[in-house]
C-alpha cells in the first residue's frame, strides 16, 4: 500500500483487490453485536472537513471508531479556519497534536496532496473540489464486485454531471484499472473535454445504452458547483437524462442502479426507481464503512517502512 490515499490513479489493480478483500472481512465486523475491534487502539484519526458532508464524515467517523481509534472531528464553521487560519497552519496544528491520519475534504482540488507536504500523518482524500473522491469509488467497486462477482468486463454507464463530479473521475479511473467498460453519459456541456483520455467511451444518449448495462450509475446534479448554466433547465435535464421508471424498465434484470448520494429525487432519479429492488443505494452506504475501515487499517496497520526481511 501507499502511504496516503489521494487518487485512484495511485492504485494498481492488485491494490484495489487487496482493499476490497480486506473490506470483506471488516463488513463481517459490522454484523456483530459488538461492532468494534481493537486493531487501531491508541491511534488518532482527524476528520478535517472543510466542506459540507454528512455521509462521508459519519462513515469515516464510524469506521475509525469501530477500529478503536480516537476520532477528532474538525470542520470549518466555528473553528480557527473561520477566524482566517491558513490550511497550512491548521495542518501543522493537527500534526502537533499527534494525528496519525488526517481525512480531508476540501473544496480545492489538490489540497490533500498539498497536505502531505506539510504533515507526517497518513492523508486520506475524502473529496477534493471537482478532482477525486477515491473512497466513494472503492465502495462502489466493492458493491459492484459483490453483486456481479467480478469487475472485469462489466458494462457501466456513469450518467450526469461528469464535469463537476469527483465521484465520476475516481470511479471511471478505478473501473478502467479493473478492466470494466465505462461509458460516460450526459449533456455535452457536462462531459469533460479530456474524457476520451480516461479510457472510457462517451455518449449523449442514455436510452440506447440502458438495455446493455450491468450497472447504471447516476450522478447528482450539483447545482451548487455550477457557476454558469450548463443546461437550460432542471426539467429538461430530468427529461433527457433522468432515470425515470420508464427508462429503468429497459435495464436488464440483473443491472444495478447506483447513486453516490445525496439524491435529488425527481431530477436525476425518480423516487420509485431509487426505492426499487435493483437499487443498491443503501448498501453502498453500508459498504462505505467497511471500505473506510479497510483503508484506515491498511494505511495505519503497518509502520510504512520497507520490510526488514
Amino acid at each position: 500500500m501507499n502511504e496516503h490515499l489521494l487518487s485512484m490513479h495511485d492504485l494498481t489493480a492488485d491494490d484495489v483487490v487487496r482493499i476490497l478483500d480486506t473490506a470483506e472481512s471488516f463488513r463481517e465486523v459490522g454484523t456483530r453485536v459488538i461492532k468494534k475491534v481493537p486493531a487501531l487502539r491508541g491511534r488518532t484519526v482527524v476528520n478535517f472537513f472543510l466542506e459540507n458532508s454528512t455521509r462521508t464524515r459519519i462513515s469515516f467517523e464510524l469506521a475509525a471508531k469501530r477500529l478503536s481509534a480516537d476520532v477528532i472531528n474538525f470542520s470549518a464553521g466555528g473553528s480557527s479556519v473561520a477566524k482566517g487560519e491558513s490550511l497550512k497552519d491548521t495542518a501543522l496544528t493537527l500534526q502537533a497534536m499527534g494525528a496519525d491520519a488526517i481525512v480531508i475534504r476540501h473544496s480545492s482540488s489538490g489540497s490533500p496532496l498539498q497536505l502531505t507536504k506539510w504533515v507526517d500523518a497518513h492523508v486520506l482524500n475524502a473529496g477534493d473540489g471537482t478532482h477525486e473522491h477515491p473512497t466513494q469509488a472503492l465502495l462502489d467497486l466493492y458493491t459492484m464486485r459483490e453483486k456481479h462477482g467480478r469487475l472485469e468486463g462489466l458494462r457501466v454507464a456513469i450518467v450526469g454531471d461528469v464535469l463537476h463530479s469527483r465521484v465520476a473521475r475516481s470511479l471511471s479511473w478505478g473501473l478502467v484499472t479493473m478492466g470494466a467498460e465505462v461509458t460516460l453519459v450526459g449533456p455535452p456541456t457536462l462531459i469533460p473535454p479530456d474524457a476520451p483520455a480516461w479510457g472510457t467511451h462517451v455518449s449523449y444518449d442514455i436510452d440506447g445504452l440502458l438495455p446493455k448495462l450491468d450497472v447504471c450509475y447516476m450522478l447528482r446534479v450539483q447545482r451548487e458547483r455550477q457557476r454558469l448554466e450548463f443546461f437550460p433547465s432542471v426539467r429538461e435535464y430530468a427529461r433527457l437524462f433522468g432515470l425515470t421508471s420508464a427508462r429503468a424498465a429497459t435495464l436488464p434484470d440483473h443491472a444495478l442502479i447506483m447513486h453516490p448520494g445525496p439524491m435529488n429525487r425527481g431530477v436525476e432519479i425518480d423516487s420509485d426507481v431509487a426505492d426499487q429492488p435493483g437499487s443498491v443505494i443503501e448498501e453502498q452506504v453500508t459498504n462505505g464503512i467497511a471500505i473506510r475501515m479497510a483503508l484506515l487499517y491498511l494505511l495505519l496497520g503497518g509502520t510504512g517502512e520497507a520490510a526488514a526481511a
Binding site: 470483506e24 459488538i34 494505511l299 517502512e305 526488514a308
Partner: protein, 180 residues
C-alpha cells in the same frame, strides 16, 4: 535441514486421538463448538468435527476465527497483516469452545483469539487444541489437547501443511544451521 516430524498417517492418528480426548474431557460433545483459527486451524477444526461426528454421532458446529484485528503487533510490522475471514454462524455464549490451531508457539495468537471470542459472546469454557506444540511460550497459556510435542529452537521454522490448502498433509521442521 528439513525434517518431517509428522506424515499423513501421523496427523490422521493424532487428530483421531484428540477427537477422543475432547469427547472424554467434555463428556460427550453436546455443548462443544470448534473454532479454527484462520488459516489452517479452520481446516483442522473441520476434520476434528468429522471425527467427533463419526465416533459420537454428534454434529459439532465449526467456525472460523480471524485474529488479525486483535494482534498485539499491529503497527510494529512494515505492512499491515493480511486479513482473513471470520465466519461463526452460531452463538458461542454458554458453549464449550475448543479453539483449534496448527502450531502453538509464543501463545500470542491464542491470547488474541480469546479476546476475539469474548467480543462474540461469553463462552462457558474455552479450551485449546493444537496439532503441534513447539514450546517457547511468552504468555501463561497451555494447550488442553496436543497432537504432538515438537522440541525446537527459536530459530527453527515449523511448517504445517494441510491438504485443503497445500495439497498434502505434513508437519516439517527446518532446523536452523549450526552457528547461523
Amino acid at each position: 535441514m528439513t525434517a518431517t516430524v509428522m506424515a499423513v498417517d501421523d496427523i490422521r492418528r493424532a487428530l483421531t486421538r484428540v477427537a477422543h480426548e475432547i469427547i472424554e474431557r467434555d463428556k460427550g460433545a453436546g455443548d462443544v463448538v470448534l473454532v479454527g483459527i484462520a488459516d489452517r486451524g479452520d481446516d483442522l477444526a473441520r476434520r476434528l468435527a468429522a471425527e467427533i461426528s463419526r465416533i459420537e454421532g454428534t454434529e459439532v458446529p465449526v467456525g472460523v476465527l480471524d485474529i488479525t484485528f486483535y494482534r498485539d503487533d499491529i503497527g510494529l510490522r512494515a505492512e499491515a497483516p493480511e486479513v482473513h475471514e471470520t465466519a461463526i454462524s452460531f452463538d458461542v455464549s454458554g458453549k464449550t469452545v475448543v479453539l483449534v490451531d496448527d502450531v502453538l508457539y509464543t501463545g500470542r495468537t491464542i491470547r488474541s483469539a480469546m479476546d476475539a471470542l469474548m467480543d462474540l459472546g461469553r463462552p462457558h469454557k474455552i479450551q485449546l487444541a493444537v496439532l503441534v506444540d513447539r514450546g517457547h511460550r511468552e504468555l501463561p497459556i497451555r494447550a488442553d489437547f496436543v497432537g504432538k510435542n515438537v522440541p525446537t529452537s527459536r530459530a527453527d521454522q515449523v511448517r504445517v501443511q494441510v491438504t485443503e490448502v497445500d495439497g498434502t498433509d505434513a508437519v516439517t521442521v527446518d532446523r536452523a544451521q549450526e552457528g547461523a
